[in-house]
């Protein structure tokens, strides 16, 4: 009976099972933390298995969506709100990424949470609920509710389990995100009031009847909320603080999934709902993305803290994602979809690795290290692979994403497209500079001779648990680099539909574009 119910309400199960399991785990006393960690991990693995088995075995309905669930929820002030969940090409791989990253994070940070580990595990599961809910919500108010619901568990993860400046970082994270989303709520209510519905399609229809000026204002209100989450330059300042202060697991989830919801919001809502405004502001978005790419890379280069370096590299990488989206071309957007997954995996893995190093050395300062490769060869091997994938070496995932984005941007018909692509290419170069320079200083060279240096504290290489966490990541890095089609095919149809009205002008002249599979499922 339960399996039958899950079959018909898979998404409800997926969204609320982690929440209920997390609440259940919260009831355990603190001294049971090891048991709670085990139960939490088992729960997360079970959810991953159910999700993967179900998602990969079903065929989408004609609209390209899976598992649609729809029932009226409540009517407030004359506007009905539908409890409408579905998975489609845009959210498919992000859902998989989420259910995949949570158990890996729990396992990867098994011993590093420290105090009150039980509550932290429970919060991770509650957070998973919020993320999955936001990814599968098809009704805008439901999306908004889940979007805000992600905030609280993340806030507590940073504020309770974070570093020394955790209060400041957590509050900044909260206020920045809320500032965007509250203004967005006003725009949402305005449009819903006009449309009499929270269904994106109906709202888009209504939006198209408004004046161009009104559309632009609404688009900006939507874009502000999403751009803060991405985060797009100059709204990124909360990110380095939040990442540096968050516990390892929090950083992994933040980089892996939470940031993606910003770019996902652009693709799912802001651009399809306000196509003409999106075309109007594409140059602005692309300009800010390019600045984010170069600026993020330059700032990352000068960091003395490894984790902060990875955080700024996030700004740079998410700039690529936003550039792909701003190009409004199929190739660029598909690249952005892929780059979202890449960034989730590579940067998530980098945060995990930095966390593993920190657990041993209790420092993250680059100058405290040197010669780590001698002490921890296996760790170094994994770190190198992930580093190269983050730089975007061919055959790794990073290359495919960045290549598609740059190609899509260059061939888009905007006047600024070629300049933007060329400047952004500089970002690829810079990413090699800051990553490899950091690797050189931390891993190679002579062992740091200082008594209290980080390297001196490294007594053990990775254990079996840590290797077990990293192996699936490495497999994915190569799989996505060698056969990206697995991941691209899913989203192509949906992305094309999202861009139906908001596409870039035709290319100025014919340019060889990368041939993508024409098979749209």
């Amino acid at each position: 009976m339960i399996t039958a119910w899950i079959n018909t309400h898979l998404l409800t199960f997926l969204v609320f099972a982690p929440l209920l399991w997390g609440l259940f785990l919260l009831c355990f006393p603190e001294r049971q933390a090891p048991l709670v960690k085990l139960l939490g991990l088992l729960g997360a693995v079970a959810i991953m298995l159910v999700a993967c088995v179900q998602l990969f075995h079903l065929i989408p309905d004609p609209a390209g969506t899976f598992f649609t669930e729809r029932s009226p929820w409540f009517t407030a002030v004359n506007i009905p709100v539908d409890y409408h969940l579905a998975v489609d090409g845009l959210s498919f791989w992000l859902v998989v990424l989420t259910v995949f990253l949570v158990p890996l994070t729990l396992l990867g940070t098994w011993n590093s949470i420290g105090k009150r580990a039980g509550s932290a595990v429970a919060l991770f599961l509650i957070l998973e609920s919020g993320m999955l809910g936001a990814l599968v919500a098809q009704d805008l108010l439901v999306f908004y509710l889940f979007w805000e619901a992600m905030l609280l568990p993340m806030y507590f993860l940073i504020a309770v389990w974070g570093g020394d400046e955790r209060r400041y970082a957590a509050t900044k994270f909260m206020l920045f995100t809320l500032a965007g989303s509250l203004l967005w709520l006003v725009a949402l209510l305005f449009l819903a009031g006009k449309a009499g519905s929270f269904a994106p399609a109906v709202m888009a229809q209504t939006a198209s009847t408004l004046s161009f000026h009104a559309q632009c204002t609404l688009f900006l209100a939507f874009a502000l909320a999403f751009a803060i989450k991405v985060p797009l330059f100059p709204l990124h300042t909360w990110l380095p603080d939040a990442h540096t202060q968050a516990p390892t697991g929090g950083s992994v989830i933040l980089a892996g999934v939470l940031l993606k919801l910003g770019s996902y919001g652009f693709l799912r809502f802001a651009i399809p709902m306000f196509p003409s405004a999106a075309v109007h502001y594409a140059s602005l978005m692309a300009g800010l993305s390019v600045v984010a790419i170069v600026y993020g890379a330059l700032v990352a280069m000068m960091q003395t803290d490894i984790k902060k370096l990875v955080a700024y590299s996030s700004v740079s990488h998410m700039g690529f994602v936003m550039l792909g989206i701003a190009s409004l071309s199929l190739i660029g957007t598909q690249g952005a979809m892929l780059q979202m997954l890449n960034h989730g995996i590579s940067t998530g893995a980098l945060f995990l690795l930095v966390g593993m190093l920190y657990d041993r050395a209790h420092t993250r300062k680059i100058s405290d290290f040197g010669g780590v490769a001698v002490k921890m060869p296996i760790f170094t091997a994994f770190f190198m692979i992930v580093t190269l994938s983050s730089i975007g070496l061919p055959l790794t995932n990073g290359f495919m994403g960045e290549f598609l984005i740059l190609n899509g941007t260059y061939t888009a018909g905007f006047a600024w497209a070629r300049t933007a692509a060329c400047v952004a290419t500089l970002g690829v170069l810079l990413s090699a500079v800051y990553m490899l320079w950091m690797v050189k200083r931390v891993f190679w060279g002579p062992v740091n001779p200082a008594e209290d240096s980080g390297t001196a504290h490294l007594h053990s290489d990775l254990n079996a648990r840590e290797i077990a966490v990293l192996i699936p990541i490495v497999v994915l890095i190569f799989w996505m680099g060698i056969h990206p089609q697995t991941f691209l095919a899913q989203s192509e149809g949906t992305v094309a539909r999202a861009l139906v009205q908001a596409h870039a002008p035709a290319p100025l002249e014919h340019l060889p574009a990368v041939a993508l599979s024409a098979e749209v499922k």
Binding site: L26, E30, W73, F74, T75, A76, V77, N78, I79, V81, R116, Y144, L145, E148, A149, L151, L152, Y155, F156, A159, V160, R166, R167, T171, M174, L175, L178, A179, L182, L183, L185, V186, L189, F190, A192, G193
Partner: protein, 496 residues
Amino acid sequence: MTLTNGEISAILPLLIPALGACLLPIAALDSDQATVKWIRGFMFFTALLALTGGFIYLTRLWSTGAQPSYGALHMDRLAQFGGIFVLVAAALAVLQLWDHLHQEGWVKGETLSLLLFSVVGMVLFTATSNLLLLFLGLELLSLPLYALTSTLRMRDRAMEGGMKYFITGAVASSCFLMGSVLLYGATGTLDAAAAGRLLMTPGTALDPIALVGGALLLSGFLFKVSAVPFHQWTPDVYEAAPHPISGFMSVATKGVAIIALFRVMAVGLPVLGLRMQSAMAVLAVLTLAVGNLAALAQPNIKRMLAYSSISHAGYLLLGFVAGTHPAYAGMLFYLLAYLAMNMGAFGALTAFGLVGDDVSFEQLKGQGWKRPGLAIAATFCMFSLAGLPPFAGFYGKYMIFKELILQGHVGLAVFGVTASLVSVYYYLRLPVTLFIEKPSEAAERAASERPAVVAPFAGATVLVCGLLVIILGLIPGTIMATFARPAVQETIQLPR
């Protein structure tokens, strides 16, 4: 004189708590040490019984759909809603008082009696549009509250707060009375609805005397709502009063003043109400600004909650600016949410055993991990006050902002959400203090020397409130359809 059944059922909601209020002082006379424990138990039981009796009676009346009236007293849906609202708030306050007064070591019978008399005044206040009866209700609800503020009369601050409340309250009452007199002079009737009809007679210009009278009436109401510029008493009085009484004042007084404001300004005197809409908008903006900004800098939790209560008056006033049926229904929903979250917030102070003059965040540091269930419930109440989804407070704001936007006041809505963004910062301080900050060693030592906090009832009320803000947030549609919307639709006929 004989009363018909309908007339009796109209006044019973007033009589039941009044009867309890009269019985209580008799019980309080006995101060024999051997029986004092039993007497205290009996007093609290009687008070709860009276409140529960009134609650059951009103819910029955609600479910039958009867709307009896007796003269100018109309026990209609809106009054029933207001009565239920007040009785629930009072019952929560009584439960919290038991713990709080025992913690303070000052359990006296008259406290409960005064509280019940105030409840009678509040029920009366929501149930009439006759200006004289309204004044009676206003005084009956205020006078006991002045005394209740000074419950802990061995403290200077309590006496000072009570006196301050009394003097400012007297000014507000005189404004109200003067306004009634002017309206009576202009129209020759004391009934707000009849006066409104007279003022709307086509072809007659609006009498300036009536306008001044309306403005004075409004000031009287706004004082009770604690809107800027009639707010200065709020922090001092809340700080002086026992925690449950502060909670009760912030919730019930504000609630009934809003409901009576519906009845008088929106329904009875729509001409004046429309004239004053822009003034209302200005006051709402000022209230939001002052409440939220001042709350940022308060080291004392009760003062922070007092300024937060001012800011919530601002959101409610925004509903008046929108001035439509759904907006009024949204305000009633907001009041329900506010009942749960603010009684929970003030109840948490008792449940964590904060006593004495200075109720600062300092004393709560690190307490969350010692009593997680309670702390989580209090945190939920705070998030709800901040208006974060999926808690009840979000939907209250949602419905008001939505109507504002539909009515074209987008700028006001943007100001409102900005204000609630600011509020997140100070509401987060309680969870931060409870869960994140570490108590100083001196505080740890002092805490280990003090006896453990005993507050089973207050703790239970906080848990119930924490649960309520979630439930209200999960089924806002049902609550709107069953309570808020009927109360508005069957009572308020809007002029436009």
